[in-house]
Amino acid sequence: MTSFRVRRPGARIDFEKPLSFSFDGQPYSGFAGDTLASALLANDVRMLARSFKYGRPRGIVGSGPEEPNALMQIEAGAHTIPNLKATQVELYDGLIARRTTGYPTLEFDLKSIGGLFSRFMPAGFYYKTFQNQKLWPKFEHIIRQAAGYGSAPAEPDPETYDHSHRHTQVLVVGGGASGLLAALAAGRAGLKVVVVDEQKECGGWLLSSPHSIIGGKTADAWLKAVLGELQSMPNVEVLTRTSAFALHNMNLVLAVEQLQDHLPLGARSAHRPRQRLHRIRAENVVLATGAIERPLVFGNNDLPGIMTASALTTYLNRYGVAAGKRVLLHTSNDHVYQGACDLVRAGCEVVLADARARVNPAWEKRARAAGVDLRLGYGIAYARGGRAVSGAQLVKLDAERNAVTGKGPSIDCDALGSSGGLSPTVHLYCHDGGRPHWDDEKLAFVVPATGRAKSRIYCVGAVTGEFGLQQALEQTQRTIGDLLASLGKPAGTTSATDVHTDEPASVPPRRIFRIPDGMREGHGKKAFVDFQNDVSAADIHLAVRENYRSIEHIKRYTALGFGTDQGKLSNVNGFAIAADARGISIPEVGTTTYRPAYSPVTFGTLAGLHADETFEPRRYSAMHACHVARGAEFEPVGQWLRPWYFPLPGEDMHAAVRRECLAARRGVGIMDASTLGKIDLRGKDVREFLGRVYANDWAKLAPGKCRYGLMLDENGMVMDDGVTACITDDHFVMTTTTGGAARVFSWLEKWHQTEWPDLDVYMTSVTDHWATAAIVGPKSRQTLAKVCSDIDLSPSAFKFMDWRDGTVAGVPARVFRISFSGELAFEVNVDANYGHHVWEALMDAGREFGITPYGTETMHVLRAEKGFIIVGQDTDGSMTPLDLDMAWAVSMKKPFSFIGKRSFARSDTAGPNRKQLVGLLTEDPEIVLAEGAQIIERTDIAPPVPMLGHVTSSYYSPELDRSIALAVVRDGINRRSDEGRKTGRDVLYAHAGGKAHKVRLVSPVFIDPKGERQNV
């Protein structure tokens, strides 16, 4: 037993509340307030992981989001979450954790055998080995399994997530001393303030240092007072367990709040989301993101029991766990001294090796007085140990150069903490294009103390390089004073004495990152820079030797900073070692790019409520309940859910569609056409406007009449189609395709607003106002007549392509005599609130004629039998009206050069051999071709076979009792002409699924070519 529990005053552990949990199947116990990491440490569980490449034993290194090793699989089944950092998992009763690395077991890892792999796995190993792409698939499975990391749940996520859109005047990121002081000042000034902090409680480093004195109070008391005041302000909101992970332009900060992860599964509420994504738009962002201590790089620095010094201190003071009885600390700076004293007071023997020959006299005095065994001017050449650290070999360092001048003592220890200095958490500042700069005195990439005032991003505390508590608080006061002044608010709500601390003023750290061991790099013990990816100092030297120069390249070659910790511990050390290897300075090396997310975010959180039944809007017509009651099968059409077909008991789709088609052709069918887009246009220039946006002419369309139109884009390609009715000379109603409704409406508005604002036209979407039932078939007139007495439905009074206002089933209705099936048909439009009523009334009226509801599938068959196109199915944005053989729908005589007209004359559009719409008949009438089947000329040519076109629509026609298809084929119209038939050019092959079927090109109109049926 090396680590042990200590009852430290101020610790955040409730020893009255024991909790049980398991790790890798073994039961353990901890206390309320523990993280999984602190509890494992208290149970003396040292080895928690195996390293990625070499399978080396690894333990806890950090105490927060920087942890590279202790990645856990939490819980099982649907609730399981992979790769959580044990340092961030709050312990709860019954928690189940498993390792994510170590193959086949943690104790015995294949990769570690005799360092077998290490000799053969230098930097760039995977690139070099698997340059031959054929090898990778063979080895990928084994390598990935051996590499480890957790598994995603295989079951659907039972938990929910949501988003919260917030708007605030001031957002403070980070609830440490500086962040809280900033929030206090902004709150007192009356500003709307939101504070986010990723931990379960605010305090930041103060929680690890509860005995520091601020303004005459202990840190603990100071925290209580400040948080109490913040809580009393209605304009301030403090969100804990909320990690800001991205800062986007215009100060949009994304933060994820953990609402239930800290609770036992059984205690989680079904009414609360597991996590919430806050999208916070802040007029002012205050970054108080602090700093993370980086370790020193020395031989075997990855042995379990070796941590950052701040983690050692945090486990002691915050979680009441001493990581060892005999502790060796190694530092290049002042930050470890308080922790060293605290460890001695907790009963540990502490040796502190400071790389500096001369240190801060104030700290030296305090440390010696406390009983710390201080060794000045020493470095650790390498650590000793097997499964855990057992000691270290010191070397005497030159006072100036980073070189060994002599041997040092060998120290026994069971815990080792090192500090190479602090690395400010600059990530958020850099997400929006900001760059940190190297401060050669503080040995850190810092953000400017002034932040980016122009973007209203302010930076306070350690993130600016102010690592001393008092200096940090003073800098915070100044910066928030500037912020408040810029808003015309009085500054100075906190005074200088409020931030006075008992901390000695710090002295500069020593510029040392890699502790020399007296050997050439690569010849001594492995010294790790990035633990998660097993990147050693030697690997970086190798990359430089292999001529990698840019740090972005070195990073990718070695995988430095690629893990889930995103280089929080390793980046600066890596840059410094690269700088030394290249003989240049750290600023010349530069930094890599910081991108969101700062820490991993679950997919569920990103999706929020855009999941399951509210993943996408599902739009319904007013008649939807009628279709449900009749057992319809539905299909999504864009966002709409439309009836697909209406099977009777025992019918499959084929049988149902056959019955529906024949009913529409021979009796009467009824279809819900409500989803078509409808636009009401009003103004004396509507005719002119229609003439500009449609290919055909509208000058002479009389009130009471309708006309089909093709809408083109400026390239001359068909983008939409539909029927437009002339209500009066200055009032028209346009229909669009279901899928094109929103696009067309916006398209028309754009032309009107940007090009032709002088045209007297107003447009309003009435898509949702009208519910539309199409009654189709020879008996549709008789059906309608039963529920409509005020419209003369006789063929002479109400002609094909006419519309009439009247009353249907007691409801005001607009009836169009138009047809998408080629049959006699009427489309009845009513206020959608009456849609259900009118559908049912029409069903009642048609009962004696066998009225048959039909869905989109039958609609498609009926229209394909007539050769009517579906824009987007038979066209693909490269089809002109002429390609569709629809010259009749284009008026080249209109005085205004309508949209798309000029493009007809472009060389390619006007050229020969374009793909054109044709009908296809298979030689075997039972074969229904696959849509998308390629059209080829012969089957006996070697690839590549020239593709002449493809099948766009294909169905079995019950009316013809054979298959039919539409296709676009090069020079198709000539091929299917009499001339083409004579020369046999009309016979081709449709190829799909490895089979070629002989087809004949014909007119796309398979039924009633003269159009007599719709005119009866």
Partner: protein, 216 residues
């Protein structure tokens, strides 16, 4: 033949039968307010002839200040754009109002469209109404003042929203109503959702235009 019966977009949820007076038992209260009249009015807000003719027909000055609304005993007029308004009227009044507007606006560039079937209205109230709106919309609802209207995004759909009486009103498109209702129900899950009795006299006009909105 059966008598014509109207069915509102949220009919299938059977909300009317679940409604009860608002009390403290739920943090969020909502319901559909069905069958209100909606008229889309287009015209140039800078054209004095249009504004005065429309104002006369409506009985209240047409709001020309962006994002505001005007309310009388019988109608509520929402500014939607410099040339577009939505007129919310009592059930059954839309038709007559359309005729009155068309008559008054004869000779002036305009468009009057009865869109009553195209929209429905959702009442949203309770102590956590604002929290729900934060979940579903990017708009800063905290800053939405009485007398103002916001056209904005709701989930992956759109909404016209304003404050009325003891809550918010959301005017949504008919075909999206089902989606939006389900979305609101899911967003309200943490707070408990009650189906509210919305007083009949609180449907459209000023008669209950108190502006006490519980702010979360």
């Amino acid at each position: 033949m059966s008598e014509p019966v109207m069915r509102s977009p949220l009919h299938s949820f059977g909300l009317a039968s679940q409604a009860k007076p608002i009390d403290g038992s739920s943090g969020v209260w909502a319901n559909e307010i069905p069958h209100i009249g909606y008229i889309s009015l287009r015209g140039d807000g800078r054209d004095q002839a249009f504004v005065s003719a429309a104002s006369k027909a409506l009985g209240i000055p047409l709001p020309i200040e962006p994002c505001t609304l005007a309310t009388s005993e019988s109608v509520k007029v929402l500014w939607l754009s410099p040339d577009e308004w939505m007129i919310v009227s009592a059930p059954g009044q839309a038709n007559a109002l359309c005729s009155r507007l068309e008559l008054a606006l004869a000779g002036v560039r305009n468009q009057v469209v009865d869109n009553s079937g195209g929209y429905t209205q959702i009442f949203l109230g309770g102590t956590h109404a604002l929290d729900v709106l934060r979940h579903v919309s990017v708009y800063d609802f905290e800053s939405l003042q009485p007398g103002r209207v916001a056209g904005t995004t709701l989930g992956k759909s759109s909404v016209y929203a304003f404050r009325q009486g003891n809550g918010y009103r959301l005017i949504v498109r008919r075909s999206f109503a089902d989606y939006i209702w389900r979305y609101l129900v899911r967003a309200a899950n943490p707070y408990g959702l009650g189906i509210a009795d919305v007083p009949v006299d609180n449907l459209v006009g000023t008669s209950t235009a108190s502006v006490n909105v519980a702010a979360g």
